[in-house]
Symmetry: C2
Subunit: 226 residues, 2 copies
DNA sequence: CCAAAAGTGTTTAATATACACCCATGG
DNA sequence: CCATGGGTGTATATTAAACACTTTTGG
């Protein structure tokens, strides 16, 4: 039943995996992408997408590949989060997992279960199911990091499509911070960052004044403030 | 010549190591602890202390153990930094290194080469020797993180002994920031943090007014500001 | 008495917060 | 014409920065 084991070392080696916490904003809520595990351990349980590092593959590449294979999600903002390696976190063998977190606008996310995953779906962060391994810890760490980075980086812009209105940007911050912000102060702040510029276009949506569209000046780049 | 290789897996596993960047303040400069490698690869070259993860050992424990074994340094503030896993960063085999950074007051550091290390010594951060592997990258990342954390945490207090004067605290910040700070503003800020309290004792050193001693209220704890 | 670091407040500038009305559109 | 979200400025409060002299000690 067991496969041949041709990869031998003079001292024991842990396995190395990546796990990815992908956040997006859907239905005015912060949501997280999970897969339902198709194989043991924890078969049938929801988990972060992720998997084993190929021996000739960089860590970032592994995260991007596993995410694409298991969920169909590609070309998102990916950032290394923290490495989880507690003994016993995986019942099969010693596994050290390099966790990533990812952000993407909901528009760009065509999710489809693949590969190892029986299913892939979005969950509101405030209504997560039971999770495999220590993935609840990883998610908590990722969420903390995301909130901390709001204060001193432009990371939240990664949750918006290429062009967006100031109202949409404000909604992103309001959802993430779970707080209402003053419209005039927010706009002053956002424009003073000098990270966005008007495209010159407007968006007409609904029966009200059209909204000016903006884009990042330094496209797809997260910059640090202060 | 080669050892037996009794540890076999059905797919190839990278090796996992920890490397530790220990900072201290000595001679009014930020200094880093390096070891001279005793064995290939890079035998004779300076490198960060570190080594292979034991299969039943947590990552933090590995960092603490390797640091103690190779340099004699114990009981320092240790924090996971970033995981470096570029293919080819170690010529022997695929190695993923979970890097840590550490801070300690110079007083507590009785450095002695051990184990794998032919020598252990402090280097000013602005005068580092050639380094093994990608350790120059790790050090640069650690230094960036240290400076970033100055702004929003009490991490710098880890570079001071249990009791210290406000003048010493100011020197820590001035050295790290490479800038002069206003004494009155600095003291106002430090006391407003509500992280330190006067011990009631004073220190007499040199022919001038004795300085009040302070300690952290929440001892050995790094807190986040703002 | 001299040198050296410790200790102490006030004024000014910069930044952040509070707050209310008109605009342009679709239906 | 009305409902809806877009767009705009000023006054106040808070926080940060600039700045100089007296104190205590050892030698």
């Amino acid at each position: 039943m067991s496969a041949p084991k041709p990869h031998c070392y003079s001292h024991p080696h842990p396995a190395v995996t990546t796990d990815i916490a992908v956040f997006t904003l859907r239905e005015d809520a912060l949501q997280l992408l999970l897969i339902r595990r198709g194989n043991p351990p924890f078969a049938g349980t929801w988990a972060l997408p992720g998997g084993f590092l190929d021996i000739d593959e960089d860590l970032d590449a592994c995260a991007a590949r596993e995410l694409a294979e298991e969920t169909g999600v590609q070309d998102v903002y990916l950032e290394q989060l923290y490495t989880f390696g507690t003994v016993g976190r995986d019942p099969r063998e010693r596994v050290v997992s390099v966790a990533y977190f990812a952000l993407a606008p909901a528009e760009r996310l065509a999710v489809q279960a693949g590969d190892d995953a029986a299913d892939a779906a979005w969950f509101r962060l405030d209504a997560l199911p039971a999770l495999a391994f220590d993935h609840a810890d990883i998610i908590a760490t990722a969420h903390r990091r995301l909130l901390a980075k709001l204060d001193y980086s432009t990371i939240a812009f990664q949750l918006l499509p290429e062009t967006f209105t100031l109202g949409e940007l404000q909604q992103v911050y309001e959802t993430l911070l779970d707080a209402e912000l003053d419209k005039r102060n927010f706009r002053k702040w956002a424009l003073a960052l000098a990270q966005i510029e008007a495209t010159g276009e407007v968006r007409r949506r609904g029966s009200h004044r059209p909204a000016r569209l903006y884009r990042l000046t330094d496209r797809e780049r997260v910059t640090y403030l202060r």
